[in-house]
C-alpha cells in the first residue's frame, strides 16, 4: 500500500509544481518579450506584475463559455481535452532528479520509470496532433480548418527529423529508459568536460541536439514555426472558435509541450540532472552562491533605495535569499536538491531560448517550412544517424 501512497504524493506534488510553472511561464514569456522589445510588460497586478497569472486564470474561468451553434459538438468539446491530456501525460515519465528517501522508502524523482520512456513520450506527443486537427475541423470555420490542416501537416513532417534525432543519442546510451539515459551521461572527461551526449564520444551529438531543438520548436508550434495560428492570415488558426477554459486548455497544452521538449532535450543531450562541472570543483555550491548573490543585490538596493518602500521590502528579500542560501549548504538538502537544481537550470535555460527566439525571428512562409523539413532537416538527421551508428559500431 506504501507504494500507492507514495505515487499519489508524487503525483500531487508534481501536478502542483507543473500547474504553477505553466502559469508563471506565461508571465516570464511576457516579461522577457517585453524587455526584448524595450517595453515593461505586465506590471499592474502585484509587484512587477507577479500576480498577473492569477488574474488571468480568474479571467479565463469567469469568461462566458461560448458554444457556437454551427460546430460539431462532440469533437469540438473533445479536442481541447485531448490536447491538454496528451500534453500533461508526457510529463509523468520525465526524471527530475536522483534517488531520494521518503519515510524509509527510496524512490526516484520521477512519476513512472518506464523502460520504454522515450517511446512513450514519442507516442503520446504523436497523439497530441488529434487535439489540434479535430479542433480545426470541428469548429466548422475556414480559418480554423486551414489552421488545423497546416498544423497536422507540420507536426507529421517534423516528427520524422525529431524521431531520427532522438535515435542517435539512444545508440550511445543503449537504453530506452529516460532514467538510464541520464545515468549513462554521468562522469567527466579529463576531470572537467561532462560526459553529456552532446560531448560524449565516439560521436558527440551536437548535430542531433540542434536538429532536435529545431524540430521541437516546430512540434510545439512556436515562432518561427507558428503557422497554425498565424494571426495575419488565419485570425487565430485552430482555436479561433474557442473561448474561456477551452481556449485556456490549448494554451496550457502549448506550454506543457514546451516544457516536455525542453526536458527531453535536457535528458537526451545535456545530461539531465548531472552537474555542469565536478563536485570536487564546487558544483554543489552553485545554487547557494546564486542565491547569496541575489541577496547581496537586494541588500545593496535596499541600502540605496530608489523608492521609499524599497527600504523595507528589499532587505526582507535579502534575508530570505541569504536564509535559502544557508539552507542549501546542509548536506542532506544538497543531495536531494542539487540534481533537481541542475535539471531545472538546464530546462529553464532552454525555455528561455524558446522565448528569446520568439522575440528575435520572423515567421516562415508555409512552403519554406515544408521545404526546410523535407529537403534539409530530414536528410541531415538521416546522415547524422548513419554516421553515429558507424562510429558506435567502430569504436565501442
Amino acid at each position: 500500500m506504501n507504494y500507492y501512497l507514495l505515487t499519489v504524493i508524487k503525483a500531487s506534488v508534481l501536478a502542483a509544481i507543473l500547474m504553477t510553472t505553466l502559469a508563471y511561464l506565461q508571465w516570464i514569456e511576457r516579461k522577457v518579450i517585453a524587455h526584448i522589445q524595450a517595453r515593461i510588460g505586465p506590471s499592474r497586478v502585484g509587484p512587477h506584475g507577479l500576480l498577473q497569472p492569477l488574474a488571468d486564470v480568474i479571467k479565463l474561468i469567469t469568461k462566458e463559455d461560448l458554444l457556437p451553434p454551427y460546430v460539431n459538438k462532440f469533437f469540438y468539446l473533445l479536442a481541447p481535452f485531448l490536447a491538454v491530456t496528451m500534453a500533461l501525460l508526457s510529463i509523468s515519465v520525465i526524471p527530475f532528479g536522483g534517488e531520494v528517501e521518503i519515510g524509509g522508502q527510496t524512490t526516484w524523482m520521477q512519476m513512472a520509470d518506464l523502460n520504454i520512456g522515450v517511446l512513450f513520450i514519442l507516442a503520446v506527443s504523436s497523439l497530441g496532433v488529434y487535439g489540434i486537427a479535430l479542433a480545426g475541423w470541428a469548429s466548422n470555420n475556414k480559418y480554423s480548418l486551414l489552421g488545423g490542416l497546416r498544423s497536422s501537416a507540420q507536426l507529421i513532417s517534423y516528427e520524422l527529423p525529431l524521431s531520427l534525432a532522438v535515435a542517435a543519442p539512444l545508440l550511445l546510451a543503449n537504453t530506452l529508459s529516460l532514467r538510464e539515459i541520464v545515468q549513462a551521461q554521468g562522469g567527466f572527461y579529463f576531470g572537467i568536460l561532462p560526459r553529456w551526449h552532446i560531448f560524449q564520444g565516439p560521436m558527440p551529438q551536437f548535430f542531433s541536439f540542434v536538429i532536435f531543438l529545431i524540430a521541437g520548436f516546430a512540434e510545439t508550434n512556436r515562432v518561427p514555426f507558428d503557422l497554425p495560428e498565424a494571426e495575419t492570415e488565419l485570425v487565430a488558426g485552430f482555436h479561433t472558435e474557442y473561448s474561456s477554459m477551452k481556449f485556456a486548455a490549448f494554451f496550457m497544452a502549448e506550454y506543457a509541450n514546451m516544457i516536455t521538449v525542453a526536458s527531453m532535450t535536457t535528458i537526451l543531450f545535456l545530461g539531465g540532472w548531472m552537474p555542469l562541472f565536478p563536485v570536487g570543483l564546487g558544483s554543489n555550491y552553485v545554487a547557494s552562491a546564486l542565491l547569496a548573490f541575489a541577496g547581496a543585490i537586494c541588500l545593496y538596493h535596499g541600502l540605496h533605495p530608489a523608492r521609499r518602500l524599497d527600504r523595507i521590502t528589499l532587505p526582507v528579500f535579502a534575508v530570505l535569499f541569504f536564509g535559502l542560501a544557508a539552507v542549501l549548504l546542509i548536506p542532506a538538502v544538497v543531495s536531494i536538491f542539487m540534481p533537481v537544481f541542475w535539471f531545472c537550470a538546464k530546462t529553464g535555460f532552454l525555455l528561455f531560448v524558446f522565448i528569446w527566439i520568439r522575440g528575435t525571428l520572423p515567421r516562415f512562409r508555409y512552403d519554406q517550412l515544408m521545404n526546410f523539413a523535407w529537403k534539409f532537416l530530414f536528410p541531415a538527421a538521416v546522415l547524422n544517424l548513419l554516421v553515429t551508428g558507424l562510429m558506435v559500431a567502430l569504436f565501442s
Binding site: F75, L114, N115, I116, L119, F120, L122, A123, S126, L127, V129, Y130, A133, L134, G136, W137, L145, G148, L149, S152, A153, L155, I156, E159, L176
Partner: protein, 166 residues
Amino acid sequence: MDVILFLAFAAIAVVCAVNVVVQTHPISSALSLVGVMGALAMLYLSLGAEFIAMAQVIVYAGAIMVLFIFVIMLLNAGAEVKRGKSLAAQLLGVPVFFGLLSLLSFAVLRLFPHAATVHLGGFTGGSARDVGHALFTRYLLPFEVTSLLILIAIIGAVVLAMKEMD
C-alpha cells in the same frame, strides 16, 4: 486483475470496431479506429510486450490514422447517406454473423488447444532488444523485402504525383 483488464480493453476494442462500421461520418469512423488501435496497444502492454504496444501507438494511431484524418479533412468528406437495405442483408445478416463467429472460435480452439488465460507479463520477448534481434537475424529477409516494398510504393507515389503536376 489481469482478466478484468483484458476484458475491459477487449470490450473497448470490440465496441470501437463496431462503431467504425456504424458511424456515418468518416471522421467518427476514423477516430473509432484510433480507439481500436489504442485498446490493442493496452492489450499488448498488459501481456508485457511494451515495445510492440508503443510501436502500435506511434505507427498506427500516431502516423497512419493522422494521415487518414488529414485526408478526410482535406477532401471535406460529408456524412454518408443511408440507402435502403437489400432484403438478403436483412434476412441473412444476423445468422451469418453468428455462424462466422462460431466458426472462428471453433478454429481458434482447435488450433490452440493448450491456450491458457491471460496473465500479466505472460509474454517475454517483447522488449526493444528482443524485437530488434529477431528482426535482424531470424526475420531479416522478410524485413528487407518489406522495406524494399515500401521504397517501391514511395517511388510509385512520387511518379503518380509528378504526372498530376504536368
